[in-house]
């Protein structure tokens, strides 16, 4: 009876109840978006980093993988050392370099990844055949490159490296056959990337790239203690940067601290507005109904019932408003995500707003508790209004 009573009381004033509901929905949407933003990109980044099963990255000390042009020297020796570390099942070096493809008389700049085909974690093969160890005649293309070159499986490309402006000719060039089309996991949108074997990239890139790698991906054995593996690697290679996925996410988080802080501020504002809106509506409703409430108390309705009735009214605004807000919030999150993921250089696979059940639950519960609390002061006031004085003042 309390529920239908509270609902009917709200429906007495459809315009203001409707507006309040809409207001709660918008607050809920903003709150949800801020909850999604607060950790979305980190979760997205972490998921991406773990997508191929490599839990550790080794890169030049003080840098994040591919964050600068710094490379690791004596890469082969380091990789061998990592592979012989207890708990490590795989270590895959990756070297990034700038190469060019001849196309229609011009040189098209490319991002080339030199990889070890037996231990790579940066692409997923979508069509054709993967590279093989020691392969020096094949190349894998990302879709943006294939599109721009109009290349398909089996086509031959001429790749050049080390352009020498003095003689206006490349120092090295090589013909390769497209053996596969791949999706590069960490690439920005439309990034023109290709993959070759590591020695090929080292050779094409120039003498300064011999035996160098940009990063080494490390996979620990299933069930192995990743922390112990990392500790061992740090001891063995004190001058290298050894980072777990957690370390990388933490550093990433530092760079994006602004978004966390913004999400906290805007989320808090959304909650404050919800409290003000629901609280004001209920306070005015209680004010208008003080006579009724005093009568209820006079005929023996307990304080608890009165409080429950007012709080129920608050919940009748907050719950449907919250549900509407979730749908609204998911829509605005897509819009905001589309804006933020246009950051230059950001991997296309990353999202800022990641909608997971946990996040939705946090937002919903926070809103619910806020709505409940907003109803408490007017409910308390209603329940404690002096009966006789209120009835007197309500008399004509």
């Amino acid at each position: 009876m309390k529920g239908s009573w509270a609902l009917r009381d709200l429906l007495r004033h459809p315009v203001r109840s409707g507006l309040a509901l809409l207001g709660v929905a918008i607050s809920a949407a903003l709150l949800l978006d801020m909850v999604l933003l607060s950790g979305g990109i980190e979760r997205s980044f972490e998921k991406l980093l773990l997508s191929r099963g490599y839990q550790v990255r080794v890169s030049p000390k003080g840098t994040l993988p591919f964050d600068t042009e710094a490379t690791l020297g004596n890469a082969a020796q380091i990789v061998a050392g990592i592979r012989s570390t207890p708990g490590v099942v795989q270590a895959g070096p990756v070297l990034g370099a700038s190469l060019f493809a001849r196309h229609d008389g011009a040189l098209l700049p490319l991002v080339a990844y030199g990889i070890d085909p037996t231990a790579q974690g940066i692409y997923v093969l979508e069509d054709g055949r993967d590279l093989s160890l020691g392969d020096s005649t094949h190349v894998l293309l990302g879709k943006p490159v294939a599109r721009r070159l109009g290349a398909k499986l089996g086509d031959t490309l001429v790749l050049v490296g080390r352009l020498d402006p003095e003689v206006a000719a490349p120092a090295r060039s090589v013909k390769v056959v497209v053996s596969g089309l791949v999706h590069f996991l960490y690439d920005a949108k439309d990034q023109p990337s290709i993959a070759l074997t590591l020695p090929m990239v080292q050779g094409l890139g120039g003498p300064h790239l011999v035996d160098r790698a940009s990063v080494i991906l490390v996979r620990a054995a299933d069930g192995a203690d990743t922390g112990a593996v990392v500790t061992q690697l740090r001891q063995t290679f004190p001058k290298l940067g050894v980072n777990t996925v957690g370390d990388l996410v933490a550093k990433f988080r530092e760079r994006l601290a602004y978004f966390r802080q913004l999400s906290l501020i805007l989320g808090s504002i959304a909650l404050i507005v919800t409290v003000l809106l629901v609280g004001t509506l209920l306070a005015i409703t209680v004010n208008e109904r003080l006579g009724e409430i005093a009568t209820m108390r006079a005929i023996g309705i307990s304080r608890t019932t009165v409080i429950a009735q007012v709080v129920t009214q608050g919940l009748l605004l907050v719950v449907p408003g919250g549900v509407l807000g979730i749908f609204l919030g998911l829509g605005t999150a897509r819009w905001l995500d589309a804006i933020l993921t246009s950051f230059p250089g950001l991997p296309a696979a990353i999202s800022f707003f990641v909608a997971e059940p946990r996040q939705l639950t946090i937002a919903a519960l926070t809103l619910l508790v806020t709505g409940l609390l907003a109803g408490v002061p007017p409910a308390w006031r209603a329940a404690n209004a002096p009966i006789a004085a209120t009835l007197r003042s309500d008399a004509p």
Partner: protein, 273 residues
């Protein structure tokens, strides 16, 4: 220069060696590492590369760059040949800056250079600036999107609160109408109230924004040790916000007031009773 990160190892001032390199460090690094002019630092191309001693000859304050502020990298300067030698890449640079004689058109100069270029490209400085500010533009678009959502939300909240506020007055309005006060007078009086609230709210909001802006700048300037302005309250922005607040407040107030005055006074009386 190549954007290689230099690993800087600091030791106590050493006796100067022959051919000590010269290095200028940025103030933030000097503060954090407690390095002064005259001190010797050891620099290397990477953590496992050979080290070179360098004397700090200057402490610089780089121009605040919002695109790189989050990275918190330390910036240093060396003589070009020294850096090239350390990096093991003699005769290599990332780019040249080209100064033109007065009167020379940058576009035609760039075009001529690009025709003979091999292995490099020539851009106008403004093109580089525009490319490097893409990050900034994305953040601006994001802020604008949040502002749109906030404005829409504010409009709804304002309307709701105005409706509540005005409806509270229905008994007063009923009595006024009973005593012969016209709809127009009642409407104007409610609108005046709404305007006072809107103006007062806008001014209060401006004050809060000024305080918040100061806090944001103070906090982030301390955090990133920079003179960069993170939040800038311009007169244009203030004017826009105030005008918008007043328009929204008046709009909401007039909608709420119109609802009330068009209701027959007897109905208002009964509802209030």
């Amino acid at each position: 220069m190549n954007r290689f990160l230099l690993a800087l190892l600091i030791c106590a001032p050493l006796p100067l060696r022959a051919q000590l390199l010269e290095i200028a460090v940025e103030r933030r690094f000097a503060d954090d590492a407690k390095v002064h002019i005259g001190d010797t630092v050891w620099i290397a191309a990477s953590a496992d590369a050979p080290e070179h001693a360098a004397r700090v000859v200057a402490v610089t304050e780089p121009a605040a760059d919002p695109a790189t502020i989050m990275r918190r990298d330390y910036r240093v300067r060396l003589h070009l040949p020294d850096l090239a030698a350390i990096l093991g890449q003699p005769d290599r640079v990332d780019r040249f800056g080209v100064g033109l004689e007065p009167g020379v058109d940058p576009d035609s100069a760039a075009e001529r250079l690009n025709r003979v270029a091999f292995g490099y490209q020539v851009f106008r400085s403004s093109e580089i600036a525009s490319q490097s500010s893409t990050t900034f533009l994305v953040v601006s678009r994001f802020h604008r999107a949040i502002a749109i959502i906030s404005i829409l939300a504010s409009a709804v909240f304002l309307l709701c609160l105005m409706v509540l506020k005005v409806e509270e007055r229905r008994l007063d309005v009923a009595v006024l109408r009973f005593t012969g006060i016209s709809r127009r007078t009642v409407f104007r009086s409610l609108l005046l109230e709404a305007m006072v609230v809107a103006v007062a709210g806008a001014l209060l909001g401006t004050g809060i924004a000024a305080v918040a802006s100061a806090i944001v700048n103070w906090y982030y300037q301390r955090t990133f040790s920079t003179a960069l302005i993170f939040s800038l309250l311009q007169w244009r922005t203030i004017l826009f916000a105030v005008v918008l607040s007043i328009v929204l407040g008046l709009g909401a107030g007039s909608l709420a007031a119109w609802r009330l005055v068009r209701t027959p006074p007897l109905t208002l009386w009964r509802r209030a009773g």
